[in-house]
């Protein structure tokens, strides 16, 4: 019995480490993904930190360590909302928030055209925005996007198609 417990403990340890390592490996990438969703680096880092902490809290539920990256990406997408909510109430902070990179006040993005596109992207419904980001930023396939967003692959396809159409309409580009 002792032996069995020991090996189970080890398996559990490995699982925990998996998530931590996934976060560590993909820290910068996840912050970039979050930044695209929230607009500034400080908030983006909060989002990833939040997702990281939550993943720890709920690590028992992570059944398949092989899909940890899907899991953490979706944790980042979900973490965004709670962080934004919290940010409205918390004032004491060491790191100041910058204006979103796509806003006119920010000097981060140099190309006006791209800025406009990101502003248009912001105005889309959340699901379209997320699906478009996962496809065109991370280059994920339908199935991976489906797993990350927990929707079906066919919904991913139609969501992306609708999102692109909406962007074209907003920006007045012929399709």
């Amino acid at each position: 019995v002792e032996v069995e417990l020991l090996s189970r403990g080890k398996a559990l340890m490995r699982e925990q480490v998996d998530v931590a390592v996934i976060f560590a490996e993909h820290h910068v990438g996840l912050v970039r993904l979050a930044l695209i969703m929230v607009g500034d680096q400080a908030t983006a880092e909060d989002v990833v930190q939040e997702a990281f902490a939550r993943t720890h809290a709920g690590r028992g539920r992570l059944r398949d360590p092989g899909r940890a990256l899907v899991y953490v990406r979706s944790a980042v997408l979900n973490g965004r909302r709670s962080v934004l909510r919290r940010r409205a109430t918390v004032f004491r902070r060491a790191v100041p928030y910058d204006p979103p990179v796509w806003s006119a006040e920010s000097a981060a993005m140099v190309t006006e055209e791209r800025r406009e596109l990101l502003v248009a992207l912001r105005k889309l419904p959340r699901r379209q925005r997320e699906a478009l980001t996962l496809r065109y930023y991370l280059g994920l396939a339908d199935q991976e996007i489906a797993e990350t967003m927990r929707i079906s692959a066919s919904t991913v396809r139609s969501t992306i198609a609708r999102g692109l159409t909406a962007l074209r309409r907003t920006l007045g580009e012929e399709s």
């Binding site: 340890m13 490995r14 925990q16 480490v17 998996d18 931590a20 390592v21 996934i22 976060f23 560590a24 490996e25 993909h26 820290h27 910068v28 990438g29 912050v31 970039r32 993904l33 930044l35 695209i36 680096q41 983006a44 880092e45 990833v48 930190q49 990281f52 902490a53 939550r54 720890h56 809290a57 360590p65 092989g66 940890a68 790191v95 990179v101 796509w102 981060a108 993005m109 140099v110 190309t111 055209e113 791209r114 800025r115 596109l117 990101l118 992207l121 478009l132 980001t133 065109y136 930023y137 991370l138 280059g139 994920l140 396939a141 692109l164 962007l167 074209r168 920006l171 580009e173 399709s175």
Partner: protein, 353 residues
Amino acid sequence: MNSPMEDRLREALTEAGATVDTSTLRPLHGGRRSRFRVDLRLVAVAAVVVFVGMAGAVGLGGPGDVDHAVAVNPEPVRQKGKGEMAVFLCSKAVPKEHVCQGRNVTTEETKAVDALVRQLPEVESVAFIDQASAYENFRRDFVHNKALLDGVGAVDLPASFRLTIREGADRDQVSRALRGVAGIQNVVDLSSDMIADREDARPQVKAFLCGKEAYQTSCGAEQILDAEGKFKGVKKEGKAATDAEKDAVRKLIDSLPDVESSTFVDQVAAYEDFQKSFPDNKVLLESTKVTDMPEAFVLTMKPEIDRSKTISKLKRQPGVATVVNGACTADRGLLLANFGLILPESKVCPGGG
């Protein structure tokens, strides 16, 4: 094919993502009661030293390798033994028959490789580049090559460890230690003879002339190919370019509007270049004679022009064995050195342009 909107979206998102300043990134801390350490050494460091592969680096395939190397890399800027080595990890994009067996590196394997490279005495420091960062770098480095940007996605690029090697350490020992380790796709020494700095010159175009015992079909040789169309040998050798053909090539080059200047490199000069290009590679030097070197016209092209017209004209000229566009070779070298990808020329620069 991609629509313009998709391209624009990709560019805009990449630019937004790239605004993250990795130098101020706060480390992650684990929740209320962190019971295990997060190994932040693994965190991707975005600072990639951009070595640019110029030559027909390792395994670019075909019997033209030697030509490539000489062609584009007359005087390589040598990295003084301290350049990086890149350890590319398995990605799904690698063909199934490869050691990676068509699957991504697992987290355990990544950890194991990380631990392994860190305990090598030759290694001074280690940085990790994940797929997303690799893709960002890729889009930045190949902004000039639309065919490549269209053809390669984020998932095609392998993640990698970048190793800084101690001054004077045995670099081959590092390669040997990493050979066959699970999860590793390949190891590229970014300071090898084949990789040099791109700063030195505008990449040239070289038109190699048919030599004695030419193997190229353009010289009239008949090749033996295997079932996959790979070069296996020569059934009948081709003919060397005649003096009349050489004169005609020279006249053609003088008439081409996009050529800024040209020089003729004879066998002796080509061999000198060759020696300079591979000063440390005794085996290669000893097995190569002056008479093995092809003669060539080296063309400096006017900047910022489409080279494909010039190249296709030269290719059709009798007596010309092959035409190498230094820009393409440079891109292929860069692709291998910085991104671990080996792609055929048809993908990297379709039409030779």
